[in-house]
């Protein structure tokens, strides 16, 4: 389904959205971020490198009444007192076992630690303390559509495995790969208006110009977009931007997660973005909405045919498919927006 997503935007960016990204999408997606120079770290150095120390405090107060749920909001390396975590606790749902070991005082903790090698325990927790860049993934995600999202994830998963991929695989047998690659490039080229407008809206003039050069080169030398001399000869890589990213660029958060039928993981902001981008997609203008959708379907199948097996491989490592896709989607979008 993730690949399907492409259909809406005719671009790899959708791939990105789909968590596919992880492995495969890899592939395509990245193309989207191509232009970005990966300043990632410098820009967000604080979240990555900040060195707060909640877990030292956390370890010291382990078993505190509030349980694992109460990580102090404020880094409290020196305080380490249990009072802290109670007061400013950042409520996170108890994960079930909190009750069991509740309410130990500080000293009792040490007794408990002795039993199973407390030294280790402290070592471990100082790691958590030092590598706190992952902490935000401990917070509960606001996900009001969770139930629906899970069901739709299952539906999409089956649709992909049972319908889309078999179709794509049959199609791959009759269509030679170079032809399929050309078709993919053709659709990608058609997504130019979306990239132009969104680069412009984000005041990325250079990227907008590059996209325009790409479009002109590929539409002429590249025979209507069937080939991509802009990349291969002129070293101009695509600058994928969509309206969801534009909104994100101006500070709009994603809102809660929404799994779209067939299109896969999304959120409120990006689903709206897909709609807006649809108005910039020439396919719908030239052919009308319904034929346009059918054409998008071809695009999607064609895309899937070039990435057979990747979805399976990507998701095989998931422990919880829905959470895996949701988290990967959001992380990937954050990166795309930063760039």
């Amino acid at each position: 389904m993730k690949r399907k997503r492409f259909s809406m935007e005719g671009g790899e960016r959708s791939a990105g959205r789909a968590a596919v990204v992880l492995l495969t999408g890899v592939v395509f997606l990245a193309a989207g971020c191509a232009g970005g120079k990966m300043p990632a770290l410098s820009g967000e150095s604080s979240p990555h490198f900040s060195s707060q120390s909640r877990y030292t405090a956390f370890a010291a107060t382990k078993g505190h009444g509030a349980g694992p749920g109460a990580l102090p909001d404020n880094p409290a390396r020196d305080t380490g007192g249990s009072g802290d975590s109670a007061g400013e606790g950042n409520p996170v749902p108890d994960n079930g076992s909190g009750g069991a070991e509740e309410e130990d005082g500080f000293e009792n903790d040490f007794d408990a630690l002795d039993e199973n090698d407390g030294f280790d325990e402290f070592d471990d927790f100082s790691d958590f303390d030092e590598f706190d860049e992952f902490d935000r993934h401990d917070e509960e995600v606001f996900d009001p559509l969770r139930r629906y999202n899970r069901a739709m994830t299952t539906f999409n998963d089956r649709a992909y495995r049972w319908v889309i991929e078999p179709t794509a695989s049959g199609y791959a047998k009759v269509m030679p790969e170079p032809v399929r690659r050309s078709i993919q490039r053709f659709f990608k080229n058609l997504g130019y208006p979306i990239r132009l407008v969104n680069n412009t809206l984000q005041l990325k003039g250079g990227a907008a110009l590059e996209e325009t050069s790409r479009f002109l080169i590929n539409s002429t030398m590249g025979v209507g977009g069937l080939f991509d001399p802009a990349t291969s000869r002129f070293d101009l890589e695509p600058r994928n931007e969509d309206f969801g990213q534009t909104l994100g660029y101006y500070g709009l958060g994603g809102g809660f997660h929404v799994v779209l039928p067939i299109l896969g993981p999304s959120n409120v902001r990006d689903a709206f973005g897909i709609l807006v981008d649809g108005f910039l997609d020439p396919v719908y203008y030239v052919e009308g909405v319904y034929p346009g959708l059918a054409i998008k379907g071809v695009d999607a199948i064609n895309y899937a045919s070039l990435h057979l097996g990747e979805y399976e491989r990507l998701t095989a490592e998931a422990i919880d498919l829905y959470i895996f896709l949701r988290n990967a989607y959001e992380q990937n979008r954050e990166k795309q927006i930063r760039e």
Partner: protein, 212 residues
Amino acid sequence: MKKILAAAMAALVIVLVMAAVAPAEENDAHPPEDAVKRLEESIDEVLYILKNKDLTTEEQKERIEAVIDPVFNYGLIARLSLGPRNWRQLDREQRDIFVERFVRRLKDSYFENIAMVQGDAETRVEIREKSAQDNRVHVPIRASMKDSSVDMLYKFHLDGDEGWRVYDVEISGVSIVASYRSQFNEVMRDLSVEEMLEQLKTMEVPEIENQQ
């Protein structure tokens, strides 16, 4: 007199500069460049092994493992992936089991992934400008294949005498550790530690439906 002043100023500047540089002193034995070098060498070796068609897949796997094992801090990756909240629920023995199974799984999926990259003879890897701070170095790379490319970020930390070791990898902005962390946090709401460990044994996607 002016000359003396100028000399004094110069000396002062030098001292200040040295002072500014001093905090990096502890990294002297392992300058951040070493992390980049380490990554570069590992990538070269892995690509070389992958391109050696005389080896069976099993042999390739073995050799690649020998290359990357010292570079990855598996134990740390496993702990960070499970997260502090869940980690404290495991007793010692369970922790060992967890790390062992998790690492096995991590390696398996790593091989799955590079098997895919390897299919492409034109794979090129470009190492980009690193960013370093204290005892961390993040090295972005871009792997380009036919018609596509993927950005990855290798995150190193200075691990004592072991030198620079990887504690997380981001692929297209998706951190492996963060991905597992969010999943473990979810799964551990409903499963006992034992059940979770059991689930780690297999790579199959267990379909968790309507698990509210």
